[in-house]
Subunit: 318 residues, 2 copies
Amino acid sequence: MKVLITGAAGMIGRKLTERIAADGNVGGAAIEVLLLHDVVPPSPVPGSRVDTSDLGQPGATDRLLAERPDLIFHLAAVVSGEAEADFEKGYRVNLDATRALFESIRLMGEGYCPRVVFASSIAVFGKPFPDTIDDEFLLAPLTSYGTQKAIGELLLSDYSRRGFFDGIGIRLPTICVRPGKPNKAASGFFSNIIREPLNGEEAVLPVPEDVRHWFASPRSAVNFLLHAASLDGNALGSRRNLSMPGLSATVGEQIDALRRIAGDSVVARIRREPDETITRIVGGWPQNFVARRATELGFRSESSFDEIIRVHIEDELT
Amino acid sequence: MKVLITGAAGMIGRKLTERIAADGNVGGAAIEVLLLHDVVPPSPVPGSRVDTSDLGQPGATDRLLAERPDLIFHLAAVVSGEAEADFEKGYRVNLDATRALFESIRLMGEGYCPRVVFASSIAVFGKPFPDTIDDEFLLAPLTSYGTQKAIGELLLSDYSRRGFFDGIGIRLPTICVRPGKPNKAASGFFSNIIREPLNGEEAVLPVPEDVRHWFASPRSAVNFLLHAASLDGNALGSRRNLSMPGLSATVGEQIDALRRIAGDSVVARIRREPDETITRIVGGWPQNFVARRATELGFRSESSFDEIIRVHIEDELT
């Protein structure tokens, strides 16, 4: 099997790359080619090849397809904050480059019909929300990033229906606990308040403890992508985009889980510093889903925030 | 007020043009400029100007905005059957030209923020459907046309949220009774079985009488567009696209209404000629809506199929 990963230098792209290299196969099919693409050089793994380019440049997506990959993970994206700050860049990367990739696949012709796994996001939804968001809830994003992901979903469905490729879009929950350093993303604190105290560092909590959100671990994100890679496309029917399962937890529940696992002295490193702007932004985000279709199709995630913290400790701290 | 209509040579564009010319104003604001655009020459009305061009050509949308219209009706589109038959043309006109228009508006700058009324369609929805489609139902089109309209809706919301223009998308029901000659559209028979018998001609009915669909008259379509033109944008909130009210009726109910209005001898001109392909296509279309938001915002349509036929007789046959 020939595999292409766009956005391979990102956090999830790196973890997916390492997992595929460790497994040596995807869904039982041995890896012949593993092509890693990103706008900055992705870290190679044994046997991988690397392509560093801007997908928005003419010819970039054609070059990636030269060996006709059977499986394409399309993760490349400008993140939410940057797409909001730089309107043109967000549309160029998140919409135009996605469409360029889809068009390059279509124009290959000669029966070429790869599986495309597209990383979408719960940012395709916008408030007001029902108590739980089901598989039939309106796409009504409130950010340019969410708009671009929703458009990617629609294109993926149409190109799949037309038989140009066999696409699956998966809407990732907020990934937590993100490894690495604290960043400026409005969602950063959800990970910071777990990761930093476990590292002996202080973390800032800018929102009240009753704020509720929707989570899955980085390990689950990789599992979702790999499960999507080998799913029977016919089982999906015409609706090709799925909200992934996750865990709905309040910040208070996050902190309780941290206390159970690491004790009061670790929890004491969380410093309350209310921030109205962040509280307002986060207040517009989805809080809870019923991911019925994805669950029926075999996607699985964590069932408690304790489990999410244990996954972080296993994967990052041991 | 300066008004631009794209797609002004189409059936709805023509009726909208004539209505604006007859009224001499939109929402009480007198018409200074009425610019009619289409890819084929639209019929001028007194005081109007005409621009004939392909909106997909570089510079075409910039030229349309030279006089900074206050109100833009964006009706231009390749219809459903053609967008399905010619993939590239559908995307070029329905997606690329729409985006080019939106981009031209954004790049005008200097505080330019026109009202944009975008003609969307119930084709943004795809089966399986609930009994009635409400304002929170998933965008899941099953045609390229529906995909392109759904993407237009998402762009319109994002450009409006960003303050580049003040947009409203209205999802039109199937317009019935369409004037003119029978056409090859799969939906054509809904109008043909009323219009042709009233003209003394035979019409073919290719589906069973229990087929249900969602209708509004051409007069209502024009009313929707004009109501959208002068609506308070703040009343819309962040969800800028609305399913229009309409009438849910079966083919049998259409025929009963025709009998009440025109008698058995007219109904006798409907010839049953079952067509499995058309029956299958129509089986995937929406049948019924609860257009709560649009109704609360003052949009109104017919309340019986008898009324739809009477509107046709008043507007086309008298």
